[in-house]
């Protein structure tokens, strides 16, 4: 066993830190640090800066325009960018569709779509969930009927993150009602500017509308936009869900949130002393820190196996459960640390470009919003219940 990083990996980390020091705009980092909401232009700005180094899709192979990082480099990138308060990279194009096209797309599709993901010309969103098809994704109903050289799409998707910014959506659609439910599903690319596509925001309990309903009414999609074979989209969906889940443990996010919590607990006073000196509160932080230390190593074990070419299996389910539990608990304790100032909720003060002051310390109000927003962590991407089912099914031979 050797728990240290290789010299090459350490050199990469140094290079990355220098880059972040020099190139990450302070205004952007401050926004992220203070829990302000980011808008499309913020993401685009960061995308363009990363792309100067070919780092927006660093984990893509060089032949596709990436930097050819291994899993450890990708992990270091996520760790360092989170620590520096860089915006997270919106995953839909670069981490989801890109790898799908590499594995299942034809030459024309790769040649056309992939450079546009790298340049940021297209903003993608993901059309998987439907009102009746959440954890049970195979029961999806949104229908694509072949008519000549087009599919006609009708139906509804939901929980579509950042669809308000997207001009394209990759969808799982039903192309057949015959046979097993999983066998009639196809993977289709749809231009959201096409007539018949409608996006309706869903406001969540944190007061923000980052997710949407997407409605399709007789939307005409050229058959060239089918990825892989018709009725074989389930294979792609599974590929995406089990092999391309990145940063599922969220170690970087958790470490950052934990140091924020420690900072807040050092500033908040209880009985005339910093809250962090309260033995009970300190113990709660300590428990989380200990859990995070172990999880970080579990994560590295998986990352390192992946760098050796092994496909993560049930481990990604374990990381999803543990990682989201730890992050949610940190969010919970952070909200608690803020005391009565967790109650004011001036939603507009969190909006981009707002000049309205938050109430109380700058860290307090976003803590409630973040606590509620991150309830999603254990729900999306296959709920933690589904992950437990996967673990049990894989490990129990009954």
């Amino acid at each position: 066993m050797d728990l240290s990083y290789s010299d090459d990996h350490e050199a990469f980390r140094t290079e990355l830190r220098t880059f972040l020091d020099e190139r990450l705009p302070k205004t952007l980092a401050d926004k992220v640090r203070l829990g302000k909401r980011l808008i499309k232009e913020d993401h685009e700005q960061w995308h363009a800066i990363l792309q100067e180094k070919n780092w927006h899709a660093g984990h893509w192979p060089k032949e596709h325009g990436g930097a050819g990082w291994d899993a450890v480099q990708r992990h270091i990138f996520e760790e360092e960018t989170t620590k520096a308060h860089a915006p997270r990279i919106v995953p839909f194009g670069v981490a989801m569709l890109g790898p799908v096209l590499m594995a299942f797309g034809n030459d024309e599709q790769k040649a056309y779509w992939m450079p546009r993901i790298l340049s940021g010309e297209d903003w993608w969103c993901q059309g998987y969930s439907e009102p009746g098809a959440g954890s049970d994704l195979a029961s999806l109903k949104c229908e694509a009927k072949r008519e000549g050289d087009h599919y006609i799409v009708n139906g509804q998707k939901t929980w579509t993150t950042l669809a308000q910014y997207a001009d394209h959506i990759f969808c799982l659609v039903r192309t057949s009602k015959e046979g097993k439910r999983q066998e009639g599903i196809s993977f289709l690319l749809i231009d959201m500017n096409d007539p018949g596509v409608e996006v309706k925001p869903i406001v969540l309990i944190d007061g923000e509308a980052e997710v949407n309903e997407v409605w399709f009414t007789d939307v005409k999609v050229p058959v060239e936009n089918l990825v892989g074979e018709e009725n074989k989209g389930w294979t792609i969906a599974k590929y995406l869900l089990t092999h391309e889940r990145t940063n599922i443990a969220g170690v970087g996010f958790a470490s950052e949130a934990l140091s924020n919590l420690r900072r807040i607990a050092g500033l908040e006073m209880q009985d005339g002393k910093p809250l962090i000196e309260d033995a009970l509160f300190a113990a709660e932080i300590a428990k989380l820190e200990i859990a995070l230390m172990a999880m970080a190593t579990t994560n590295l074990r998986v990352v390192s196996a992946a760098a050796e070419g092994q496909a993560p299996g049930v481990e990604s389910s374990m990381l999803k459960i543990k990682g989201t539990q730890i992050r949610q608990e940190i969010n919970n304790l952070t909200r608690a640390a803020c005391g009565p100032y967790a109650m004011p909720f001036v939603s507009e003060a969190l909006e981009p470009g707002s000049n309205i002051d938050t109430v109380g310390p700058d860290y307090a109000m976003p803590s409630t919003a973040e606590y509620f927003n991150n309830r999603k962590l254990s729900i999306y991407g296959g709920s933690n219940e589904v992950q437990r089912q996967i673990i049990a099914k894989t490990m129990l031979e009954v």
Partner: protein, 374 residues
């Protein structure tokens, strides 16, 4: 032993449930500024609900722990954000300490025509009742107040504020805290009003040389702490009962959902994994109900026994709130996170009860200190 509510209280509870079912508009709350409805308030007053929070000698017809429990459980069940807790705090302090002329305000409070708020918390005071740094200085013909009060629920809407200030002693001392009646619009009061995450509104209050007449002093100079602690105990009972009502509704919505939502060809409530969790939630909510009953039944005990029950109940209820909120949202999935669906409001409001009058961790520590000294 008898764990039934009296007939009067059962009638109050039933009547309130019907009334609030009609006047609580959760959708408007989610859309709007998260304030409360004056219409609902008038109806509450008309029905005599505010009077149920005061004893007969103070002009009401209740005021016992179980009156608080019944009233606030229904407020919680409906998710109603009307500022009734402020009546228990500010109104309770006026009733406990007021001279006859000051107590005249109670009639208007019970009638619903005077709104009150208790301006006590300060930045840095967190949940410690003695950590008052606002200063009150005696002048020739009255008082002069300076300082800052934070997250004063109903502060901006209140016609009458009960404000705590230090007339002697150091920050943290229980001695030396005085209370003052400050009418709305008094010179030198600077208010910033804002919505609260759980509904209702709060205010930051900055006081610069607020000049008050001599009769603004409520009770004896420097001796208000005991009354504040008592009012706080009553308010904790009320808030815990409200949390119980909020949890009852979250629980009901979740049980209904488990029966309605189909995944993998059957209602998700057929999955044992969810059944067991639902069962755990049901058990914990019953525990919370018992904890609230404990506090309601011990509100008139000696100070120390009462405070042990205050911390025990707030700790247990706080812990249960977290479980019920998080489990309800999780078992609902995405829909549980939307403003459109009622659960979101109950989840936010219940969670925010943790940020008033001390959270579970704070009361765990306080409980063990109180017990340790026994």
């Amino acid at each position: 032993m008898n764990f039934e509510h009296t007939e009067e209280r059962t009638m109050l509870s039933d009547g309130l449930r019907r009334l609030l079912g009609d006047v609580t508009d959760l959708k408007a709350l989610a859309r709007g500024d998260y304030g409360w409805s004056t219409d609902a308030w008038e109806k509450l007053a008309e029905m005599g609900v505010i009077g149920a929070l005061f004893s007969e000698e103070d002009g009401g017809f209740g005021g016992a722990g179980f009156d608080l429990m019944v009233t606030f459980e229904e407020m919680g069940r409906a998710g109603a954000p009307e500022p009734l807790l402020e009546v228990v705090l500010a109104g309770g302090l006026i009733a406990a300490l007021g001279a006859d002329s000051q107590k005249e305000a109670i009639e208007a409070i019970i009638a619903g025509t005077t709104q009150v708020a208790f301006a006590h918390g300060e930045p840095g005071s967190r949940y410690d009742l003695a950590r008052v740094s606002t200063q009150a200085e005696k002048t020739d013909d009255g008082w002069k107040l300076s300082g800052r009060k934070s997250v004063v629920t109903n502060g901006a809407e209140a016609d009458l504020l009960v404000v705590s200030a230090r007339t002697s002693g150091e920050v943290g001392d229980t001695d030396g805290i005085s209370l003052f009646l400050v009418p709305k619009g008094t010179d030198g009061l600077d208010l910033r009003d804002y919505p609260l995450a759980g509904g209702g509104r709060g205010a930051e209050i900055e006081m610069t040389d607020v000049t008050l007449p001599a009769d603004a002093l409520l009770g004896e100079e420097g001796k208000a702490f005991e009354a504040i602690e008592t009012a706080n105990a009553r308010a904790t009972c009320a808030l815990c009962a409200e949390a119980l009502g909020l949890m009852e509704t979250a629980k009901k919505l979740t049980m209904d959902y488990l029966g309605q939502r189909n995944q993998f060809g059957q209602p998700i409530g057929r999955f044992q994994a969810l059944q067991f969790r639902m069962a755990d939630m049901i058990v914990e909510v019953e525990q919370a109900r018992s904890a609230v009953i404990n506090l309601a039944g011990h509100l008139d005990d000696d100070r120390k026994d009462r405070e042990i029950h205050v911390s025990a109940t707030k700790q247990l209820v706080g812990q249960t709130v977290k479980m019920v909120v998080e489990e309800s949202i999780q078992m609902h999935g995405g829909i549980g996170m939307t403003m459109e669906y009622d659960l979101g409001h109950f989840a936010r409001r219940a969670t925010m009860t943790e940020h008033r009058l001390g959270d579970a961790l704070y009361h765990l520590g306080r409980f063990s200190r109180l017990r340790g000294a026994a």
